[in-house]
């Protein structure tokens, strides 16, 4: 049993961290305030909007609904870890090229949702993409360019050619 601060050890984007935090500390706050990884954005803070989506042991999670203490020993991937210090990840490139973001607040969540989704389903249909994107909310784009970006990212990652986009058709 633990009261007061507890030690939390997490591997985030391949790097091991150890911090003393209160048990009520949410993963989203742990990432932003303790590790200064501010790419994870906080939207609704009750699991609806998907802005704070990260991967925990490879699975998408709402980081606002996870207590850091409960994840002791886990591996977390945030948007900062998708491409590391290298060039953009193919999913990021596809978002960039399809103009799949406007204000960009929701984008990190969409990217991580897409990472998990294309790993599970490398050649999705458009309907499956729309279904997967219900994980996240975007108030700017109207989603169409995001769907297009995911479609292109899937083709790029599976080695197939690009689809003609609305703009190039």
């Amino acid at each position: 049993m633990t009261a007061g601060k507890v030690t939390v050890r997490l591997t985030v984007n391949g790097k091991a961290y150890s911090r003393e935090v209160e048990p009520r500390y949410l993963l989203a706050d742990f990432l932003r305030h303790e590790l200064h990884l501010t790419g994870t954005h906080i939207g609704c803070e009750h699991g609806v909007c998907g802005a704070c989506t990260v991967l925990i042991d490879g699975k998408t999670a709402r980081s606002c609904l996870q207590f850091a203490v409960a994840l002791d020993g886990a591996e977390v991937t945030t948007v900062e870890g998708i491409a590391g210090d290298g060039p953009l990840h193919p999913i990021q490139e596809a978002f960039h090229e399809a103009h799949a973001l406007q204000c960009g607040y929701c984008t990190p969540g969409f990217l991580l949702t897409t990472v998990e989704f294309l790993r599970r389903n490398p050649t999705p249909t458009r309907a499956e993409i729309r279904e997967a994107l219900t994980n996240n909310m975007c108030r700017c784009t109207g989603y169409l360019n995001i769907i297009e970006a995911v479609e292109n990212a899937a083709r790029r990652l599976s080695g197939a050619g690009e689809v003609a986009t609305e703009r190039t058709r």
Partner: protein
């Protein structure tokens, strides 16, 4: 929105979790996937003084066939059940409903038992449990007891658990060879809050003859509700267009739906009739 402070406990077994519940009782909450509990804590609607995290209780993470049921432990994630061949084959109604529960990121962590214990009147899994007459295994340091779905759900967000008890397992009966089940849900947006939904399980004999029907509606009361008048109407009848229309009209007449920001009571009443007809037509198609 940040949760209030709490004392954090991490038991390694169900037995240890139960003894912590005995010690802390109503001051404590059990944390499994946290997909219903943590939003309520973030909003400070719930401020438990003690959180009992059962995520390391590996003896609670299982899906197995047992005595004509599929037994699902308290730590089985919705996503694991969704992708389970055992569930797809033996409890098709549960497999059909799971993709409607929350979103991928919530199903990755949220548990089947957690969603049931949350007892949301618009939750999908309570209606599945009602339609299948699932059994709920409740554990405490006093021992185990078992209740049926109708005893488990009391009212909105209220189940029958005593403060020192936890839902340790739910048992879904294996589908019989001549049964057909259908899950339908209507919402304003895909994966938004449900307006209404319906889980049905019909036992057929001799072609289109309905020997038993269980219909559980969501969105028509402060818990999932069995549509018993409709069940009585259908039992012993041969399913055809006329009886299906009659069942739909009866469901619309009998429903006492919620009236909220997502849908009016009048709309929900109409939706319920349509869902009953749509589901029964699907049963009929499969029987033919």
């Amino acid at each position: 929105m940040k949760p209030a402070s709490f004392k954090y406990c991490r038991p390694d077994s169900a037995e240890e979790a139960c003894s912590l519940l005995r010690e802390h009782g109503a001051d404590a909450r059990v944390l499994a996937g946290g997909q219903s509990l943590v939003p309520l804590m973030n909003m400070r609607i719930l401020q438990p003084r003690v959180l009992i995290d059962i995520n390391r209780c590996s003896d609670l993470a299982y899906l197995r066939e047992e005595d004509g049921t599929v037994a699902c432990g308290a730590l089985t994630r919705q996503g694991d059940a969704e992708f389970s061949a055992l569930v797809a084959e033996q409890v098709p109604l549960l497999a059909a409903a799971l993709p409607h529960v929350g979103v991928r990121a919530s199903r990755n962590f949220g548990t089947v038992c957690g969603s049931l214990a949350h007892a949301d009147p618009l939750g999908e899994l309570p209606s599945v449990a009602m339609a299948l007459d699932a059994r709920f295994v409740i554990a405490s340091s006093r021992g185990k007891r078992e209740v049926g779905a109708e005893e488990f759900f009391i009212s909105a967000l209220t189940n029958c658990l005593a403060p020192d008890e936890m839902l340790a397992e739910v048992r879904f009966p294996v589908a019989r060879a001549r049964s057909a089940s259908v899950f339908l849900e209507i919402s304003n947006r895909a994966h938004g809050f449900a307006v209404a939904g319906l889980a049905i399980c019909v036992e057929m004999s001799e072609g289109r003859h309905c020997s038993q029907a269980r219909l559980a509606a969501m969105g028509t009361g402060d818990t999932t509700t069995r549509l018993k008048e409709v069940e009585t109407l259908l039992e012993g009848q041969t399913l055809d267009g006329a009886i299906i229309d009659e069942a739909g009209a009866l469901a619309t007449r009998m429903a006492e739906p919620l009236d909220d920001v997502h849908a009016s009571a009048a709309y929900r009443r109409q939706v319920m009739g349509s869902l009953v007809k749509r589901a029964l037509r699907r049963v009929l198609e499969r029987a033919s």
